[in-house]
Protein backbone atom coordinates (compact mmCIF):
# COMPACT_ATOMS: atom_id res chain seq x y z
CA UNK A 1 0.00 0.00 0.00
CA UNK A 2 2.73 2.48 0.95
CA UNK A 3 4.64 1.61 -2.20
CA UNK A 4 1.61 2.52 -4.30
CA UNK A 5 1.13 5.67 -2.22
CA UNK A 6 4.69 6.72 -3.01
CA UNK A 7 4.18 5.91 -6.70
CA UNK A 8 1.00 8.00 -6.94
CA UNK A 9 2.48 10.83 -4.88
CA UNK A 10 5.42 11.06 -7.29
CA UNK A 11 3.07 10.93 -10.30
CA UNK A 12 0.90 13.77 -8.97
CA UNK A 13 3.90 15.94 -8.15
CA UNK A 14 5.35 15.21 -11.57
CA UNK A 15 2.05 16.23 -13.17
CA UNK A 16 2.20 19.47 -11.22
CA UNK A 17 5.83 19.94 -12.22
CA UNK A 18 4.99 19.51 -15.91
CA UNK A 19 1.81 21.62 -15.94
CA UNK A 20 2.43 23.99 -13.01
CA UNK A 21 -1.32 24.38 -12.53
CA UNK A 22 -1.06 25.16 -8.83
CA UNK A 23 1.77 27.64 -9.24
CA UNK A 24 0.38 29.35 -12.34
CA UNK A 25 -3.35 29.32 -11.59
CA UNK A 26 -4.19 28.53 -7.98
CA UNK A 27 -1.58 30.77 -6.35
CA UNK A 28 -2.59 33.86 -8.36
CA UNK A 29 -6.22 33.04 -7.50
CA UNK A 30 -5.60 33.14 -3.75
CA UNK A 31 -3.59 36.34 -4.15
CA UNK A 32 -6.61 37.86 -5.89
CA UNK A 33 -8.75 36.85 -2.90
CA UNK A 34 -6.33 38.64 -0.55
CA UNK A 35 -6.64 41.85 -2.57
CA UNK A 36 -10.39 41.61 -3.11
CA UNK A 37 -10.99 41.08 0.57
CA UNK A 38 -9.13 44.28 1.31
CA UNK A 39 -11.40 46.10 -1.16
CA UNK A 40 -14.50 44.51 0.37
CA UNK A 41 -13.53 45.58 3.88
CA UNK A 42 -12.43 49.01 2.73
CA UNK A 43 -8.77 48.37 3.55
CA UNK A 44 -9.61 49.01 7.19
CA UNK A 45 -6.46 47.57 8.70
CA UNK A 46 -7.91 46.69 12.12
CA UNK A 47 -10.71 44.65 10.51
CA UNK A 48 -8.31 43.00 8.08
CA UNK A 49 -6.01 41.98 10.91
CA UNK A 50 -8.93 40.53 12.82
CA UNK A 51 -10.29 38.64 9.82
CA UNK A 52 -6.92 37.43 8.56
CA UNK A 53 -6.87 33.95 10.14
CA UNK A 54 -10.36 33.05 8.96
CA UNK A 55 -9.74 34.55 5.55
CA UNK A 56 -6.53 32.59 5.17
CA UNK A 57 -8.28 29.27 5.73
CA UNK A 58 -11.26 30.16 3.54
CA UNK A 59 -8.85 30.94 0.70
CA UNK A 60 -7.06 27.63 1.31
CA UNK A 61 -10.38 25.76 1.09
CA UNK A 62 -11.18 27.40 -2.26
CA UNK A 63 -7.71 26.62 -3.53
CA UNK A 64 -8.08 23.01 -2.41
CA UNK A 65 -11.39 22.74 -4.22
CA UNK A 66 -9.74 23.93 -7.45
CA UNK A 67 -6.78 21.57 -7.21
CA UNK A 68 -9.02 18.61 -6.35
CA UNK A 69 -11.11 19.13 -9.45
CA UNK A 70 -8.10 19.31 -11.67
CA UNK A 71 -6.48 16.16 -10.25
CA UNK A 72 -9.75 14.23 -10.46
CA UNK A 73 -10.30 15.13 -14.11
CA UNK A 74 -6.73 14.10 -15.01
CA UNK A 75 -7.42 10.64 -13.60
CA UNK A 76 -10.47 10.22 -15.84
CA UNK A 77 -9.22 11.41 -19.23
CA UNK A 78 -8.02 9.20 -22.08
CA UNK A 79 -8.85 5.91 -20.43
CA UNK A 80 -6.48 6.58 -17.54
CA UNK A 81 -9.20 5.54 -15.10
CA UNK A 82 -9.41 2.11 -16.74
CA UNK A 83 -5.64 1.87 -16.91
CA UNK A 84 -5.44 2.57 -13.17
CA UNK A 85 -8.01 -0.12 -12.44
CA UNK A 86 -6.07 -2.56 -14.63
CA UNK A 87 -2.74 -1.67 -13.05
CA UNK A 88 -3.38 -3.38 -9.74
CA UNK A 89 -2.46 -0.23 -7.80
CA UNK A 90 -4.02 -0.54 -4.36
CA UNK A 91 -6.85 2.04 -4.24
CA UNK A 92 -6.14 2.83 -0.58
CA UNK A 93 -2.49 3.43 -1.43
CA UNK A 94 -3.48 5.63 -4.34
CA UNK A 95 -5.76 7.56 -1.99
CA UNK A 96 -2.93 8.20 0.46
CA UNK A 97 -0.62 9.23 -2.39
CA UNK A 98 -3.19 11.67 -3.78
CA UNK A 99 -3.77 13.09 -0.30
CA UNK A 100 -0.06 13.68 0.29
CA UNK A 101 0.42 15.25 -3.14
CA UNK A 102 -2.55 17.52 -2.57
CA UNK A 103 -1.14 18.44 0.85
CA UNK A 104 2.18 19.36 -0.73
CA UNK A 105 0.47 21.58 -3.30
CA UNK A 106 -1.59 23.20 -0.55
CA UNK A 107 1.49 23.86 1.56
CA UNK A 108 3.05 25.78 -1.34
CA UNK A 109 -0.17 27.74 -1.80
CA UNK A 110 -0.40 28.43 1.92
CA UNK A 111 3.18 29.70 2.06
CA UNK A 112 2.56 32.29 -0.66
CA UNK A 113 -0.86 33.17 0.74
CA UNK A 114 0.53 33.55 4.26
CA UNK A 115 3.31 35.85 3.09
CA UNK A 116 0.83 37.95 1.12
CA UNK A 117 -1.49 38.34 4.11
CA UNK A 118 1.40 39.23 6.42
CA UNK A 119 2.64 41.82 3.96
CA UNK A 120 -0.64 43.35 2.74
CA UNK A 121 -2.59 43.31 6.01
CA UNK A 122 0.34 44.14 8.30
CA UNK A 123 0.26 41.05 10.54
CA UNK A 124 2.81 40.44 13.31
CA UNK A 125 3.84 36.82 12.95
CA UNK A 126 3.83 35.17 16.37
CA UNK A 127 3.34 31.71 17.80
CA UNK A 128 5.17 30.08 14.91
CA UNK A 129 5.21 26.65 16.55
CA UNK A 130 1.45 26.56 16.93
CA UNK A 131 0.99 28.03 13.45
CA UNK A 132 3.17 25.36 11.87
CA UNK A 133 1.42 22.49 13.65
CA UNK A 134 -2.00 23.94 12.88
CA UNK A 135 -1.08 24.46 9.25
CA UNK A 136 0.25 20.94 8.82
CA UNK A 137 -2.67 19.15 10.46
CA UNK A 138 -5.37 21.33 8.88
CA UNK A 139 -3.77 20.86 5.46
CA UNK A 140 -3.76 17.10 5.92
CA UNK A 141 -7.43 17.16 6.96
CA UNK A 142 -8.46 19.30 4.01
CA UNK A 143 -6.50 17.12 1.59
CA UNK A 144 -7.93 13.93 3.10
CA UNK A 145 -11.48 15.09 2.39
CA UNK A 146 -10.56 16.50 -1.02
CA UNK A 147 -9.11 13.19 -2.14
CA UNK A 148 -12.34 11.42 -1.21
CA UNK A 149 -14.66 13.86 -2.97
CA UNK A 150 -12.54 14.51 -6.07
CA UNK A 151 -12.92 11.03 -7.57
CA UNK A 152 -16.57 11.03 -6.44
CA UNK A 153 -17.50 13.77 -8.88
CA UNK A 154 -14.96 12.90 -11.58
CA UNK A 155 -16.52 12.30 -14.96
CA UNK A 156 -19.86 13.77 -13.93
CA UNK A 157 -21.43 16.57 -15.88
CA UNK A 158 -21.77 19.57 -13.58
CA UNK A 159 -18.95 18.48 -11.26
CA UNK A 160 -17.61 22.05 -11.03
CA UNK A 161 -20.66 23.10 -9.06
CA UNK A 162 -21.26 19.88 -7.14
CA UNK A 163 -17.78 19.48 -5.72
CA UNK A 164 -17.83 22.67 -3.60
CA UNK A 165 -21.33 21.79 -2.36
CA UNK A 166 -20.12 18.41 -1.11
CA UNK A 167 -16.66 19.52 -0.08
CA UNK A 168 -17.16 22.79 1.81
CA UNK A 169 -19.76 21.84 4.47
CA UNK A 170 -17.69 18.82 5.42
CA UNK A 171 -14.67 21.09 5.90
CA UNK A 172 -16.49 23.23 8.46
CA UNK A 173 -14.88 21.56 11.49
CA UNK A 174 -11.40 21.94 9.99
CA UNK A 175 -12.03 25.57 9.15
CA UNK A 176 -13.37 26.23 12.63
CA UNK A 177 -10.45 24.62 14.45
CA UNK A 178 -7.77 25.95 12.08
CA UNK A 179 -9.04 29.52 12.25
CA UNK A 180 -9.34 29.45 16.05
CA UNK A 181 -5.87 27.97 16.53
CA UNK A 182 -4.35 30.47 14.08
CA UNK A 183 -6.03 33.36 15.88
CA UNK A 184 -4.61 32.19 19.18
CA UNK A 185 -1.17 31.82 17.62
CA UNK A 186 -1.36 35.36 16.29
CA UNK A 187 -2.27 36.57 19.77
CA UNK A 188 -5.94 37.39 19.31
CA UNK A 189 -7.92 34.28 20.17
CA UNK A 190 -9.63 33.08 23.33
CA UNK A 191 -7.95 30.41 25.47
CA UNK A 192 -5.25 28.03 24.37
CA UNK A 193 -4.66 27.06 20.75
CA UNK A 194 -3.26 23.59 21.37
CA UNK A 195 -6.61 21.88 22.04
CA UNK A 196 -7.74 23.15 18.62
CA UNK A 197 -4.57 21.77 17.07
CA UNK A 198 -5.30 18.45 18.76
CA UNK A 199 -8.80 18.52 17.31
CA UNK A 200 -7.31 19.13 13.85
CA UNK A 201 -5.14 16.08 14.35
CA UNK A 202 -8.16 14.02 15.34
CA UNK A 203 -10.18 15.27 12.37
CA UNK A 204 -7.31 14.43 10.01
CA UNK A 205 -7.19 10.90 11.40
CA UNK A 206 -10.97 10.47 11.04
CA UNK A 207 -11.00 11.79 7.46
CA UNK A 208 -7.99 9.70 6.45
CA UNK A 209 -9.67 6.64 7.97
CA UNK A 210 -12.85 7.22 5.99
CA UNK A 211 -10.84 7.80 2.80
CA UNK A 212 -8.84 4.59 3.16
CA UNK A 213 -11.98 2.63 4.01
CA UNK A 214 -13.99 3.86 1.01
CA UNK A 215 -11.15 3.89 -1.56
CA UNK A 216 -11.63 0.45 -3.06
CA UNK A 217 -15.42 0.77 -3.24
CA UNK A 218 -15.07 3.96 -5.24
CA UNK A 219 -12.44 2.47 -7.53
CA UNK A 220 -14.82 -0.42 -8.37
CA UNK A 221 -18.06 1.26 -9.14
CA UNK A 222 -19.40 -0.31 -12.31
Amino acid sequence: MLRDAWLVLRRDLRLEWRTRTTVNQVVPFVLAIVLLFAFALDADSATLVRASAGLFWIAVLFAASMIVQRVASVDQRDGVGDALRMSGIDPAGAYIGRTLALSAQLVVTEAVLGLAIVAFYGIDLRGLGLLAVTGGLATLGIAAVGSIYGPLVAGIEGRETVLPLLFLPVQAPVLLAAARASEVALGRGVGSGWPWAAMLGMLAVIYLGIGVATASTLAEET
Partner: protein, 218 residues
Protein backbone atom coordinates in the same frame (compact mmCIF):
# COMPACT_ATOMS: atom_id res chain seq x y z
CA UNK B 1 -4.50 -26.32 -18.77
CA UNK B 2 -7.64 -24.33 -17.92
CA UNK B 3 -9.02 -22.09 -20.67
CA UNK B 4 -7.84 -18.48 -20.67
CA UNK B 5 -11.40 -17.21 -20.97
CA UNK B 6 -14.54 -19.11 -20.05
CA UNK B 7 -17.85 -17.26 -20.25
CA UNK B 8 -21.10 -19.12 -19.60
CA UNK B 9 -24.41 -17.37 -20.22
CA UNK B 10 -22.71 -14.11 -19.26
CA UNK B 11 -24.84 -10.98 -18.96
CA UNK B 12 -23.10 -7.68 -18.34
CA UNK B 13 -24.78 -4.33 -18.12
CA UNK B 14 -23.90 -0.85 -19.26
CA UNK B 15 -26.17 1.19 -17.02
CA UNK B 16 -29.40 -0.75 -17.44
CA UNK B 17 -28.62 -2.01 -20.92
CA UNK B 18 -27.49 -5.63 -21.29
CA UNK B 19 -24.50 -5.27 -23.63
CA UNK B 20 -23.73 -8.96 -23.27
CA UNK B 21 -26.95 -10.95 -23.39
CA UNK B 22 -26.06 -14.41 -22.14
CA UNK B 23 -22.86 -14.92 -24.11
CA UNK B 24 -20.93 -18.22 -24.17
CA UNK B 25 -17.26 -18.20 -25.11
CA UNK B 26 -14.31 -20.46 -24.44
CA UNK B 27 -10.82 -19.37 -25.45
CA UNK B 28 -7.96 -21.81 -24.86
CA UNK B 29 -4.62 -20.76 -23.49
CA UNK B 30 -2.31 -19.52 -26.27
CA UNK B 31 -5.05 -19.00 -28.89
CA UNK B 32 -5.28 -15.91 -31.09
CA UNK B 33 -8.96 -15.15 -31.55
CA UNK B 34 -10.40 -12.50 -33.84
CA UNK B 35 -13.64 -10.93 -32.68
CA UNK B 36 -15.85 -9.52 -35.40
CA UNK B 37 -19.36 -8.18 -35.67
CA UNK B 38 -21.28 -5.08 -36.66
CA UNK B 39 -21.15 -1.82 -34.71
CA UNK B 40 -22.98 -2.19 -31.42
CA UNK B 41 -22.64 -5.99 -31.42
CA UNK B 42 -20.90 -5.91 -28.03
CA UNK B 43 -17.24 -6.39 -29.05
CA UNK B 44 -15.88 -3.64 -26.81
CA UNK B 45 -18.16 -4.75 -23.98
CA UNK B 46 -16.95 -8.33 -24.30
CA UNK B 47 -13.33 -7.19 -24.07
CA UNK B 48 -14.12 -4.95 -21.10
CA UNK B 49 -15.99 -7.74 -19.36
CA UNK B 50 -13.00 -10.07 -19.80
CA UNK B 51 -10.79 -7.32 -18.39
CA UNK B 52 -13.01 -7.19 -15.29
CA UNK B 53 -14.10 -3.62 -15.98
CA UNK B 54 -17.77 -4.43 -16.53
CA UNK B 55 -19.56 -6.19 -13.72
CA UNK B 56 -21.01 -9.60 -14.58
CA UNK B 57 -24.70 -9.32 -13.77
CA UNK B 58 -25.55 -13.00 -14.27
CA UNK B 59 -23.97 -16.16 -15.61
CA UNK B 60 -20.31 -16.94 -14.92
CA UNK B 61 -17.03 -15.54 -16.16
CA UNK B 62 -13.62 -17.03 -15.46
CA UNK B 63 -10.46 -15.41 -16.81
CA UNK B 64 -6.99 -16.93 -16.33
CA UNK B 65 -8.50 -19.19 -13.70
CA UNK B 66 -10.02 -16.32 -11.67
CA UNK B 67 -13.77 -16.06 -11.17
CA UNK B 68 -14.61 -12.45 -12.10
CA UNK B 69 -17.76 -12.53 -10.00
CA UNK B 70 -15.69 -13.20 -6.89
CA UNK B 71 -12.59 -11.10 -7.45
CA UNK B 72 -11.76 -8.90 -10.39
CA UNK B 73 -8.82 -7.13 -8.82
CA UNK B 74 -6.12 -9.81 -8.55
CA UNK B 75 -6.34 -10.96 -12.15
CA UNK B 76 -6.24 -7.53 -13.77
CA UNK B 77 -2.49 -6.91 -13.63
CA UNK B 78 -2.06 -10.07 -15.73
CA UNK B 79 -4.34 -8.69 -18.44
CA UNK B 80 -3.41 -6.05 -21.00
CA UNK B 81 -6.28 -4.04 -22.45
CA UNK B 82 -5.73 -1.74 -25.40
CA UNK B 83 -8.92 0.22 -25.94
CA UNK B 84 -9.83 3.23 -28.01
CA UNK B 85 -8.37 5.62 -25.41
CA UNK B 86 -4.64 5.84 -24.85
CA UNK B 87 -4.58 5.12 -21.11
CA UNK B 88 -1.78 7.68 -20.84
CA UNK B 89 -1.39 10.93 -18.93
CA UNK B 90 -1.42 13.65 -21.58
CA UNK B 91 0.71 16.05 -19.59
CA UNK B 92 3.45 13.59 -18.69
CA UNK B 93 6.24 12.56 -21.01
CA UNK B 94 6.32 9.17 -22.70
CA UNK B 95 9.03 7.95 -20.31
CA UNK B 96 7.22 9.31 -17.22
CA UNK B 97 4.06 7.51 -18.31
CA UNK B 98 5.62 4.15 -19.05
CA UNK B 99 7.81 4.17 -15.94
CA UNK B 100 4.72 4.90 -13.85
CA UNK B 101 2.74 2.03 -15.39
CA UNK B 102 5.73 -0.31 -15.20
CA UNK B 103 6.16 0.38 -11.49
CA UNK B 104 2.41 0.03 -10.99
CA UNK B 105 2.56 -3.61 -12.14
CA UNK B 106 5.70 -4.17 -10.03
CA UNK B 107 8.02 -4.77 -12.98
CA UNK B 108 11.62 -5.68 -12.15
CA UNK B 109 14.09 -3.11 -13.47
CA UNK B 110 11.26 -0.90 -14.80
CA UNK B 111 13.52 1.60 -16.59
CA UNK B 112 15.23 -1.07 -18.66
CA UNK B 113 11.90 -2.73 -19.53
CA UNK B 114 10.50 0.62 -20.63
CA UNK B 115 13.48 1.33 -22.87
CA UNK B 116 13.28 -2.05 -24.56
CA UNK B 117 9.49 -1.71 -25.03
CA UNK B 118 9.96 1.67 -26.71
CA UNK B 119 12.66 0.16 -28.93
CA UNK B 120 10.24 -2.62 -29.84
CA UNK B 121 7.53 -0.18 -30.99
CA UNK B 122 10.21 1.85 -32.77
CA UNK B 123 9.44 5.15 -31.10
CA UNK B 124 12.18 7.64 -31.96
CA UNK B 125 14.53 8.53 -29.10
CA UNK B 126 13.76 12.23 -29.35
CA UNK B 127 10.01 11.63 -28.77
CA UNK B 128 10.51 9.82 -25.49
CA UNK B 129 10.95 12.88 -23.31
CA UNK B 130 8.09 14.75 -24.98
CA UNK B 131 4.65 15.14 -23.38
CA UNK B 132 2.16 12.61 -24.75
CA UNK B 133 -0.17 15.48 -25.69
CA UNK B 134 2.38 16.59 -28.29
CA UNK B 135 2.52 13.25 -30.10
CA UNK B 136 0.44 12.38 -33.15
CA UNK B 137 -2.35 9.86 -32.66
CA UNK B 138 -0.35 7.11 -34.37
CA UNK B 139 2.63 7.80 -32.14
CA UNK B 140 0.39 7.69 -29.08
CA UNK B 141 -0.92 4.34 -30.25
CA UNK B 142 2.63 3.04 -30.32
CA UNK B 143 3.21 4.30 -26.79
CA UNK B 144 0.03 2.54 -25.66
CA UNK B 145 1.34 -0.63 -27.28
CA UNK B 146 4.63 -0.18 -25.46
CA UNK B 147 2.64 0.16 -22.23
CA UNK B 148 1.07 -3.25 -23.05
CA UNK B 149 4.48 -4.87 -23.52
CA UNK B 150 5.71 -3.37 -20.27
CA UNK B 151 2.90 -5.16 -18.44
CA UNK B 152 3.87 -8.56 -19.93
CA UNK B 153 0.23 -9.69 -19.83
CA UNK B 154 -0.84 -13.32 -20.03
CA UNK B 155 -4.00 -12.21 -21.80
CA UNK B 156 -4.05 -9.51 -24.48
CA UNK B 157 -7.37 -7.80 -25.13
CA UNK B 158 -7.14 -5.47 -28.13
CA UNK B 159 -9.98 -3.27 -29.35
CA UNK B 160 -9.48 -2.20 -32.96
CA UNK B 161 -5.71 -2.25 -32.49
CA UNK B 162 -4.96 -1.48 -36.14
CA UNK B 163 -6.93 1.76 -36.12
CA UNK B 164 -4.75 4.86 -36.36
CA UNK B 165 -1.54 2.99 -37.18
CA UNK B 166 0.42 3.43 -40.41
CA UNK B 167 1.40 0.44 -42.59
CA UNK B 168 4.65 -0.08 -40.73
CA UNK B 169 2.83 0.14 -37.41
CA UNK B 170 0.28 -2.46 -38.51
CA UNK B 171 2.99 -4.91 -39.48
CA UNK B 172 4.64 -4.26 -36.15
CA UNK B 173 1.39 -4.94 -34.33
CA UNK B 174 0.81 -8.21 -36.17
CA UNK B 175 4.32 -9.30 -35.32
CA UNK B 176 3.74 -8.41 -31.67
CA UNK B 177 0.53 -10.43 -31.55
CA UNK B 178 2.32 -13.43 -33.00
CA UNK B 179 5.20 -13.01 -30.54
CA UNK B 180 2.80 -12.75 -27.62
CA UNK B 181 1.07 -15.99 -28.62
CA UNK B 182 4.41 -17.70 -29.19
CA UNK B 183 5.46 -16.79 -25.66
CA UNK B 184 2.33 -18.48 -24.31
CA UNK B 185 -0.03 -15.50 -24.00
CA UNK B 186 -3.61 -15.54 -25.23
CA UNK B 187 -4.89 -12.83 -27.58
CA UNK B 188 -8.48 -11.74 -28.15
CA UNK B 189 -8.84 -8.84 -30.53
CA UNK B 190 -11.66 -7.02 -32.26
CA UNK B 191 -11.06 -5.74 -35.75
CA UNK B 192 -12.74 -4.58 -38.91
CA UNK B 193 -9.53 -5.08 -40.92
CA UNK B 194 -10.64 -8.58 -41.82
CA UNK B 195 -8.01 -9.53 -44.42
CA UNK B 196 -5.18 -8.58 -42.14
CA UNK B 197 -6.80 -9.92 -38.98
CA UNK B 198 -7.72 -13.30 -40.42
CA UNK B 199 -4.10 -13.82 -41.40
CA UNK B 200 -3.02 -13.34 -37.79
CA UNK B 201 -5.83 -15.14 -35.99
CA UNK B 202 -6.29 -18.87 -35.53
CA UNK B 203 -10.01 -18.58 -34.95
CA UNK B 204 -12.74 -16.09 -35.74
CA UNK B 205 -15.70 -15.47 -33.44
CA UNK B 206 -18.61 -13.37 -34.72
CA UNK B 207 -20.93 -11.72 -32.25
CA UNK B 208 -24.15 -9.76 -32.67
CA UNK B 209 -26.80 -8.62 -30.24
CA UNK B 210 -24.56 -9.46 -27.30
CA UNK B 211 -24.23 -13.19 -28.15
CA UNK B 212 -21.92 -15.34 -30.27
CA UNK B 213 -23.53 -16.06 -33.65
CA UNK B 214 -20.65 -17.80 -35.45
CA UNK B 215 -17.40 -19.47 -34.45
CA UNK B 216 -15.08 -20.64 -37.23
CA UNK B 217 -11.48 -21.56 -37.74
CA UNK B 218 -9.78 -18.63 -39.49
Amino acid sequence: MPPAILLRDTVSLLGRYPVLAGLDLRVEDGEIVLLRGPNGAGKTSLLRTCAGLLRVASGTATVLGHDLCVDRRTVRPQIGLLGHATGLYDDLTVLDNLRFWARAVRADRPDAIVDSALDRVALAERLRSVAVARLSSGQRRRVSLAAMIVRRPRLWLLDEPHAGLDAEGRDLLDAMIAEAAASGATVLFASHELDRAVAVASRCVTIAGGVVVADDAA
